[in-house]
Structures are given as structure tokens and as C-alpha cells.
């Protein structure tokens, strides 16, 4: 068997250079920079892939499949004192904007909405603003300052919950002539996004659900239309539908909520937190989870209705 030369004695081994202390940090820095540049290129690439490939594919899938929900009815008084009922706009395309004067992103959309009202009102379109301000004074002032040309009313928590406005303001719904919600946008958008949708819906007939609607703009998970359940909204435990429970079960369930603390930091019981802060997503989820567990719990010795 041929004797193998130990590696340390091979010409290649003897020529293998050792990094000098001066070179190593520079080489490492160069590699770090290259890695950082690669990361930036990847992120930019991912953005364009999302924008030009994934989002359009999602948009193609958001074509109407007959599942656009009817916009919940409401009856309010606008800030000029006139009645404002959604049913009065049946047959028109409506953009319904939940906003507030203290919300910067909301305010920058308003001029675009004013232009949309001017441009498309004659074709059967209207803007409606639902302000979630706590008092009308700042809304009236803003309305006059910007010379808003569409009806604005002060909303309430119940209306916000009916429309599933959970992610913040502005949240804007695009409603077709048939009274169905075709698009929801959370956050400020350029008016061009809404105009594309308005034109599509204006061209559609009044009676039938639009079959081939394309939601414009970037689509995010927040933009899924999830309307509130009136039974849950009006419940003794706000946000939790108790209609499946008997009277005794309701009391047992509420007692259970009283015995648990909400983890949002309020230090209230779950029941109290639900009642004093309907917007608390933590207590809402915990109370809903508790209801599911309660309904499944066979050891409670009670059965649901």
C-alpha cells in the first residue's frame, strides 16, 4: 500500500496562507456588507413579487362569487340636522368612510372624497362620512373648513361593531347599487383606488350582484369584510353571542367571567372589562373563548338550547 504523505508535508499545505490579523476584519466587513446588500435586494424583490404577482392573483380571486354581504342598515342624524339613512341611497354606489378628526390619515383622504363627490354624484354616487369623534364640535369645524360636500354623521360604537371596524381609522367601505359591500379598505388610500371601484360599480346594474368586481389597490388581511353579529353586539356581555344559552347558563357563564381577570392590563374581571371597554380586543377574545369552552364543558351538567 502506497504510503500517503502527511498533509502537513504536502507542497499545497505548505503554501496555504494564514490570514493576517489586518486582513481578517476587512474581509469580514466585506462579507457583512455583501450579505446586507443581498438582504436588501431580496426584500425589494419580495415587494415587487407581491405587488405584481401575488396581489394581482389575490385580486383575481376576489371577483364576486355571490358572497358580498349586505351593508348593515343605519339611521342617524347628520351634523346639519338632517336624517341620514343608508336605505335612502339604495340604487346608488356609496363609499362609506369611518373616520375621525383626530386621525391624520383620515384627514388626508377627505379632499379626494370631496372631488369624488363632485365628479360622480350625477352618475348615481354618494360619499357618506361616519365620524367617530366623541363630540360633534370638531367635526362641524372641520366640515366647514374643508367645505365638505357630502353627508357626515357622528357614529357610535355599535355601528362600528356592526361594520366590523376593528383595525382602526380610516376604514372605508365601497357599497354597490344593490346595497352589498364590495370592498373594504383600512388606512388612507389615494382616491384613484376608490375611483376605479366606483366606476366599475356605477357601470353595473342596480338589481343584480356584480359578478366580476375587482378590488383595487393593495389587498391586506385587514381588508376582509367581517361584519359584526348584532346578537353579540347587543348582548349582556358585549361582543359575545349568548343566544345559545338558557337563562341559567347565562348566569353561570357570566359568573365565570367575573372570576377571571382580563390580561389587557386593566386588572378588571373579564365581565367588567367587556362592559367598560367594548373595544378591548383581549377581553373580547377571552370571553368568546370562554363561551366555546363553556358550551363544550360536559361537566357543567347543563346543555345548550
Amino acid at each position: 500500500m502506497e504510503e500517503q504523505t502527511p498533509i502537513e508535508n504536502t507542497p499545497q499545505a505548505s503554501k496555504a496562507p494564514e490570514s493576517s490579523p489586518q486582513e481578517t476584519p476587512m474581509a469580514l466587513r466585506a462579507k457583512l456588507l455583501a450579505g446586507a446588500l443581498l438582504a436588501v435586494v431580496m426584500v425589494v424583490g419580495l415587494y415587487y413579487i407581491n405587488h405584481y404577482w401575488i396581489a394581482p392573483a389575490v385580486r383575481a380571486q376576489t371577483k364576486s362569487n355571490g358572497s358580498h354581504p349586505l351593508a348593515p342598515a343605519f339611521s342617524l342624524t347628520d351634523i346639519t340636522g338632517k336624517p341620514l339613512k343608508l336605505s335612502d341611497y339604495q340604487g346608488k354606489v356609496v363609499v362609506l368612510d369611518f373616520w375621525a378628526t383626530w386621525c391624520g390619515p383620515c384627514r388626508i383622504e377627505i379632499p379626494g372624497f370631496i372631488e369624488m363627490q363632485k365628479r360622480y354624484a350625477a352618475q348615481g354616487f354618494t360619499m357618506i362620512g361616519i365620524s367617530m369623534d366623541e363630540s360633534p364640535e370638531p367635526v362641524v369645524e372641520f366640515y366647514k373648513e374643508l367645505q365638505m360636500n357630502y353627508p357626515v354623521a357622528i357614529g357610535n360604537d355599535r355601528l362600528g361593531e356592526l361594520y366590523g371596524v376593528m383595525q382602526g381609522y380610516p376604514t372605508t367601505f365601497v357599497i354597490g347599487r344593490d346595497g352589498r359591500i364590495y370592498a373594504k379598505h383600512v388606512g388612507a388610500y389615494d382616491s384613484g383606488v376608490f375611483e376605479a371601484e366606483i366606476k366599475e360599480l356605477l357601470a353595473a346594474g342596480a338589481a343584480d350582484e356584480t359578478q366580476d368586481f375587482h378590488q383595487a389597490g393593495q389587498i391586506f388581511a385587514d381588508d376582509k369584510v367581517e361584519l359584526g353579529n348584532p346578537a353579540a353586539i347587543d348582548s349582556e356581555v358585549p361582543g359575545v353571542d349568548l343566544t345559545k344559552l338558557t337563562a341559567d347558563q347565562k348566569e353561570a357563564y357570566k359568573k365565570g367571567l367575573e372570576g377571571q381577570q382580563c390580561t389587557c392590563g386593566c386588572k378588571f374581571s373579564l365581565l367588567k372589562c367587556r362592559r367598560v371597554d367594548r373595544n378591548c380586543a383581549t377581553s373580547r377574545k377571552l370571553a368568546q373563548d370562554q363561551l366555546e369552552a363553556f358550551l363544550k364543558d360536559k361537566s357543567s351538567g347543563v346543555t345548550a338550547k
Binding site: S19, T24, L28, K31, L32, G35, A36, L38, A39, M42, V43, L46, Y47, N50, A100, T101, W102, C103, G104, P105, C106, R107, I108, M132, E134, P138, Q167, G168, Y169, P170, T171, V186, G187, A188, F220, A221, D222, C264, G265, C266, K267, F268, D277, N279, C280, A281, T282, K285
Partner: protein
């Protein structure tokens, strides 16, 4: 066995992929989150207090990543200020509330940078304990009120309720400083 160079390269690769992963999740969309955007709790500067003496409190608020709340003195008059509201108390008088300096940030909806709070926000409160207070535990309630936005939408105004238990001890009992690193950040008068 790995050389130190190989270990360094491996470490750099891990850091790099971690960074890419983080950027990917922020660039591809927004995630819904049921956790509160702002959490807060209150601490005292000492383990107890004396009657007829100053009491220093700090409220530590943590603003969730991606969100900001407005400076106590908002840059625009329509913005809702961050405020520590202490409930009226027979035992304690509020002498001063010290807010931190905000960070200027640019937003699409404003021509001027806005002063906002992000991350950890430390607000100080200087109280005066009542003249006659028997030794015992006293409760003080307060609210950390704020209005938060992320880069595209704004949440309704909200508040975090706070309950502070203040132990009053006789004057001959020395007070022990606590949370010194927190109180060093606050300029009490």
C-alpha cells in the same frame, strides 16, 4: 471542530437570515394582533413613603412595535395628547407630572415632523403625601391615556387603568430606593 472563523461566518449568516425574515414579514403585509397596543404599570421610587413628604412615581408604558402615541404636547392641535391622569385623592396631592421628550417623525399626512413616543415611555409623577397619615397601605388610581397610530391607520383613544399601592411608614423608618435606573431618567423638580 469549527474554527473561530467558521463560527463567525455561521453567526453572521444566522444574523443575516434573521434580518431577512423580519423584513419579509413586514414587507408582505400587516398582521392582526389581539394584544394591547400600549401596556403600562406604575412604580414608586422608594419601598415606602412618609406622611407630609414627597412621593415619586414613575409610569412605564410600552408601545407595541410599529405603533406610536402622540407627545404630551402634540405637534398639531387636532392630535390627542398622551396624558397621565391621577384620580383625586384625599391622601395625595399631585404636584407635577413630568413627560418625556418625544421623537420627531415624518408621516405622509403631515407637512411637518410630529413629536411622538415609541417603545418604552417613562412618565414621572411627583406627589405630596398628606400631613396626617397613619401607617398603612393606601391606594392611588390613575389612567395612562393615549391615542395610537401605526403607519397607515389610527386606533381610537384609549387608556390603561393604573392602581398604585403606597405604603406609609413612620418617619423613623428609613426608605429604601428602588428602580433607581428608571428614576434617573426623570427630571423631578
Amino acid at each position: 471542530m469549527q474554527t473561530s472563523k467558521e463560527r463567525e461566518l455561521r453567526h453572521m449568516r444566522m444574523l443575516l437570515w434573521g434580518w431577512v425574515l423580519m423584513l419579509m414579514t413586514t414587507s408582505l403585509g400587516r398582521a392582526q394582533n389581539n394584544n394591547p397596543v400600549v401596556e403600562a404599570h406604575a412604580v414608586m421610587a422608594t419601598d415606602a413613603a412618609h406622611a407630609d413628604s414627597p412621593v415619586k412615581l414613575a409610569v412605564l408604558a410600552q408601545v407595541a412595535a410599529g405603533y406610536h402615541i402622540n407627545d404630551h404636547k402634540p405637534s398639531l392641535d387636532y392630535l390627542i395628547a398622551t396624558e397621565l391622569k391621577v384620580d383625586p385623592s384625599e391622601q395625595f396631592t399631585v404636584k407635577n407630572v413630568i413627560y418625556p421628550k418625544g421623537t420627531p417623525k415624518r408621516f405622509a399626512f403631515s407637512d411637518v415632523p410630529l413629536s411622538v413616543y415609541e417603545g418604552t415611555v417613562v412618565v414621572g409623577a411627583l406627589l405630596q403625601a398628606g400631613k396626617v397619615m397613619p401607617a398603612g397601605i393606601y391606594t392611588l388610581k390613575a389612567k395612562f391615556a393615549y391615542q395610537a397610530c401605526n403607519d397607515h391607520a389610527c386606533l381610537p383613544p384609549a387608556s390603561v387603568p393604573l392602581t398604585v399601592s403606597i405604603k406609609i411608614v413612620p418617619r423613623n423608618v428609613p426608605l429604601k430606593p428602588v428602580e433607581s435606573d428608571v428614576f434617573q431618567r426623570i427630571q423631578f423638580e
